[in-house]
Subunit: 326 residues, 4 copies
């Protein structure tokens, strides 16, 4: 099945991915990881919750850590273009028959909560507390020196379904992997903000969050992080990389936080604002789609993901051929 | 005068700056400069014209070199969201009383030509020949390894006028310099595509093009270019840099092509897609707005620009205070 | 057995490793690999032989490629401090009962050929044709932009024997791996020129050359090489890396030339000129000695090496414990 | 006058420059500068003195800060090959008629103090407390992440005299600037340890210390430092750079400490261990000898230096031609 044509006038206007809330078991351990190693800045914290932002962000948070008895993903959140768009979103999801509710989120304005085609919780808002710029306070930079949250990547039990659902929300496909034999999508990268992706989907048991990515400008930031992790007790948290993906051209590193939530550190993407940008198609049998160069991914990278709190999962409709790498 | 509120629903939808046509006297000299030194890729050429693109671009050209008896800027061109937007643009400019005409540009679809508030020629199109990706053909990378055209910067005889005119087209101000005493704008950076700028304006004799910028990912690309230019006969073409601007946070280098058209090589910008992004204000008396660090700009950088072919210029309304650096 | 005390007044004065001659089956294929991919500069060539140097070297060659029916290593060559030292070397090796002969090598002065404790051919010379500097001819830089040959690494059937033999020649140990149970050396890094190594030895079937290393200043040079190799048909020649060794702190990449001769690209070493520099000891059971971070080495990296032309090999005296990685 | 032939068997064996003692007026201000900005590690301190080392050094100190009523340079110190060499040094300087004395320096063994041909104090030692390696403790890296002290650069009232004096001590010239008209040396770079220089001399009122240099691996370390200094109140301490010297190929930055002692941050040198390395000659009229690329040096860079405590200075014998840049 070919990828659907981009929806250029979606029912409401999502600007970009915004933030994610991680349920974490040991808040102190997560705090240390995200501030000293990853280098995010705390913008607010209490006994149960820590809010963080990356260095060029002016919104109050791109990551919320919530102390929980079990690790999980509470929701993925998106920023819309204006308050009006929230009402359009409410109407749209109501029309789909999805449950919608207005929830209270500290430091944010009106926030709409619903779920995607697999039941994964999505939240939308327009207003968030705006903070003074810190991108030129170079003395604050730590760890990998993260500049901004870049994207989410999810296991989807059916990628064609995901691309159709998110496509109708205006997410445009930039690159994708197709199973040449069946024509089914194996994976797809989709964006709103003009980069390679705001959210990507890979065939697998889901819905689960595969990773959350942060953008850095150069591979040297990633190498600095590797040196730091390898010599501060975090060598076991390095899962895969560094390497370069064929898809997206990303120079990547995948690491695991203390609860196993996977973080990608990412650079070398490209600009995708043209509405007539042609999606790049990769063959599932081309090993360079996954790894332009670099060591093969470990088994855990294909299998492990974070579940969404309270959301059931199911196996993928499409099974991996035994002769191809996932 | 405060900067105007952003126009979030402009009369037609400009996606981004697209390309510029330079009148050049010696086409062979320019060809060598833009391919061997800057590292752009030729996509078409004949006796009089060379078309070039940067490494991640899929559109046919971001720079057109046209053999002319005199050096000059023929037009600045912008890509719009769809064919329909061109008709809206025609209506809009006609309504303003600006001359509009449909022109033929090779490798492009319908192209509307008009001019801005100072008479500088602007062109708009939606369709351009799309080329296969080359961003992963690493053997093709040369010179500074430019990834994409990033922005234009113009001398404007009145920056308040420029910001008002371009603001109505939907260009949103990201940073600006204000003369604290008069409240007049000295300079402003405005964008459509989600970076710090598609076009910026600085107070000065104009309209003239101050520079065209190309984006590279790291300062090391710029240092490689400096080493190359300094040892291949182009040391005299290095005008200013490297350094970092306070405004935009750009790590920059300014070089001059064989006709004196100024090129900026640029990295370290940030993402500006939020419609509620607050513009950053700089005081004209703050020297770090211009140069966060680096040697002072030479006089030529403040004075020299390229005129638009056939377009008259006038002095700036606002005079530089004798005690402040321009 | 502890490592021997450094010999500070050796019988003759070796300055540094100098060059290696590779027997290669397809000279054209090797020429392409070493010039277009690795970026070495040809200083002379004929039908059978190609001489190459790296970008900061003034000596005529650091690598000689010789067309041969079988791939192999013809000799490792070292530069001594003066002509007199060659005569001292002749006397020393004669005293050891090693065969010595004066051989003719193009572009070199008097050259003494003998062999080490395992029969591996060593050559010594003082004079080599000196060439004009090219390190500031930045237009010549290609591929990984190699600055200089850095070291050899050999499989030794007995590392204690190697360290004793080379130690008497003045090679000083900078880092080493010891089998804590037996006290035997598993591997050792030894230098003459003030870096971490001119030659290193690892326990294994030998003598064989494990790799020849070239020095580059930054990890970005290595990433550029990976991108280039991955997209020009050489992805299969990437064997291991990038990663960082605990030992030597090297940021490394291992690649294989068309004949399977292994090349390391190397940065991040340190200065070792102090005669009282303490060697750093690593435990064979510490996985970070091998890989501070990075994917585990593939089996080939532990097993494959280049034999010395006409020189027999034998198994290592020390067997790898089945529970530890090699 | 041609540069003298290298002295390959000097009267005693100096291994490398080792450290310098700076007299500083405000110890707290200097402490902050050298630890938070430059990133050196404190190895010992009391009310009057701070000892520091760079990240790859194992010797106890490369810089000593001593609280003094007036800023100045107390001595430049060199490490010799063994204790015996100190006695040879004593005999040599005594033979020259230079005053010699054995002085006590904390954390060092026997230390010989004397002076050079201009009266500048030199100290020699072999033993210094050795510290555990910290180069792989990446969490400790700060500021410019300095790896090691690299060289001294002095104003000499007669560079021919300096080269002759230091040449007899075994310092070998790697590059030099000659006044083509008179044949006099304008500047010379001389080394012991196998890099471009341990000490360099430039024609000028002296003896004075022009700068002390620290080595970093990449230009990005220097750019990080510039960003940090420009945003932490040290923008006024940036004197010159970044740029590249023709001589030595150094990518450089010059900064001033709180007392005006000049520090160079330096990368991109090359290896010089060959005893037959030809010195590179530059013409005083070639502007690229000074600045391969980059802004012209400010006047202060040519005129300002640190005096040696208690040592008189005199004008240079050679006057700068009015038409050439210094």
């Amino acid at each position: 099945m070919p990828i659907p044509a981009p929806v250029l006038n979606p029912p409401f206007n999502i600007i970009r991915l915004s933030h994610v809330e991680f349920g974490v078991i040991n808040l102190a351990a997560s705090r240390k990881f995200y501030t000293e190693i990853l280098g995010l800045q705390i913008t607010d914290e209490d006994e149960d919750t820590i809010y963080l932002r990356a260095m060029e962000e002016r919104g109050h948070h791109c990551l919320v850590l919530k102390k929980k008895p079990e690790a999980g993903i509470d929701y993925l959140s998106y920023k819309v273009f204006s308050e009006d768009e929230l009402d359009k979103a409410e109407a749209y999801f109501t029309g789909l028959g999805h449950k919608v509710e207005w929830v209270t989120r500290p430091f944010q304005g009106r926030t709409l909560r619903t779920h995607d085609c697999f039941g994964a919780p999505m939240e939308f808002y327009f207003k968030m507390d705006r903070l003074a710029p810190i991108h030129q306070q170079y003395a604050l930079y730590r760890g990998v020196k993260p500049l901004r949250i870049d994207h989410f990547n999810c296991f989807a039990p059916n990628v064609d379904t995901a691309v159709e659902f998110y496509g109708k929300l205006g997410f445009r496909v930039t690159e994708y992997t197709e199973d040449e034999e069946t024509g089914a999508l194996w994976a797809a990268w989709t964006h709103r903000k003009g980069g390679v992706h705001d959210i990507a989907f890979t065939n697998g048991h889901g819905p689960r969050l595969h990773h959350t990515a942060f953008w850095v400008p150069t591979p040297l930031n990633i190498i600095d992080l590797l040196d730091l992790m390898a010599t501060t007790g975090y060598v076991g948290n390095i899962e895969r990389g560094p390497g370069r993906h064929g898809i997206s051209n990303a120079f990547f590193l995948y690491i695991l936080d203390p609860d196993g939530h996977r973080i990608e550190i990412y650079c070398s993407d490209y600009q995708t604002v043209d509405p007539d940008l042609e999606a790049i198609k990769w063959d599932l049998k081309d090993p360079q789609r996954q790894t332009l160069w670099g060591a093969p991914a470990p088994r855990s990278w294909f299998e492990h993901g974070s579940t969404f709190t309270g959301v059931g999962t199911r196996d993928a409709d499409l099974k991996a051929s035994p002769i191809i790498a996932p």
